[in-house]
Amino acid sequence: MELTGNNTTPSPWAALRRTRRQLIGVSILLGLWLLLVLCYMRIVAPEIDFDFHSSWGRLDRSFIFIFAGFVLSHAIVGLKLLQLIKASGKPGMESDPREAATAFTVFWKTNLWAHAILWVWFVLLIIIAS
C-alpha cells in the first residue's frame, strides 16, 4: 500500500482532515438518499397496490414504525457524520486531535448500531411479510 510519495511519516490527523471532502460527499448522498426514499413513500408508494390487507396485512402498523426507525437511524448517523466533519476541519486539529478522535470513534460506533438495527428490521420485514 502506498501511503505517501516520500519517506516522511504521514500524520494520521492530516489524513483525517483530507477525508473531509469525501465525508461531505457522503453526507450529501445520505441526505439525497433519504429525500429519495421520503419522496417515494409520499408520491409513488400510495399509487402501488401492495395488497396490504392480504399477505402484508400484519405490516399495516409495523411498517410505519419500521419506516420511522429507518428515517431516525439515518438522521442520527448523519448528525454524527456532520460532527466528525466539523471536528476534523477545525484549525489546529493536528496539534490537539482529541475532539476529532472522539468524533471518529462516536461516528463508527453509531454507524455500526444503525446498520445492525437496519439489518434486524430488514430481516423482520422479510419474516413478517412471508
Binding site: M1, L3, T9, P10, S11, P12, W13, A15, L16, R18, T19, Q22, L23, G25, V26, L29, W33, S95, D96, P97, R98, A100, A101, T102, F104, T105, F107, W108, K109, N111, L112, H115, A116, W119
Partner: protein, 122 residues
C-alpha cells in the same frame, strides 16, 4: 507538583482505538450480510428459473460486501492503543471513503435496473 500534561496526540490515538471493534464488526457484517443476501437471491433463482436477474444482483452485492470487508478489516486491524499504525489506518479509512459512497450510490440504480422489470411485471 504535577508533571507535564500528557501530549494530546497519544491520548487521541487511544480514543481512536475505541473505533477498532466497530470498524472490524462493520467489516464482518458487510461480508456476512451481503453473503446472506447473495444466498437469498440465488435461492430465489433456484425456486424460479425465470428470476435470472437475481443472480446478477447477488453477485454484485456479494462483491460489494467482500470489498467492504477487505477495506475496513485492514483499517480496523491497524488501530492499536499506542497508535503505532494510526497513520496507515487513517489513510486506509480515507481510501475507503474515496470509493464507498460512489459504490453505494451506484448500487441503488443497479438494483433498480435489475429489479424494475420484476416489479413492473407484478
Amino acid at each position: 507538583m504535577d508533571g507535564p500534561a500528557p501530549s494530546p496526540a497519544p491520548e487521541a490515538a487511544a480514543i481512536a482505538y475505541g473505533a477498532r471493534t466497530s470498524i472490524l464488526a462493520m467489516a464482518w457484517a458487510g461480508l456476512l450480510g451481503y453473503f446472506i443476501l447473495t444466498l437469498l437471491l440465488v435461492a430465489l433463482l433456484l425456486g424460479d428459473q425465470e428470476l435470472r436477474r437475481f443472480v446478477l444482483a447477488g453477485a454484485l452485492y456479494g462483491a460489494y460486501g467482500f470489498w467492504v470487508f477487505l477495506k475496513l478489516h485492514r483499517c480496523g486491524r491497524k488501530l492499536t492503543p499506542d497508535g503505532a499504525q494510526l497513520a496507515e489506518a487513517m489513510e486506509l479509512h480515507r481510501q475507503f471513503w474515496n470509493h464507498a459512497p460512489f459504490v453505494s450510490a451506484c448500487s441503488i440504480p443497479i438494483a433498480m435496473a435489475i429489479f424494475w422489470p420484476g416489479f413492473q411485471g407484478r
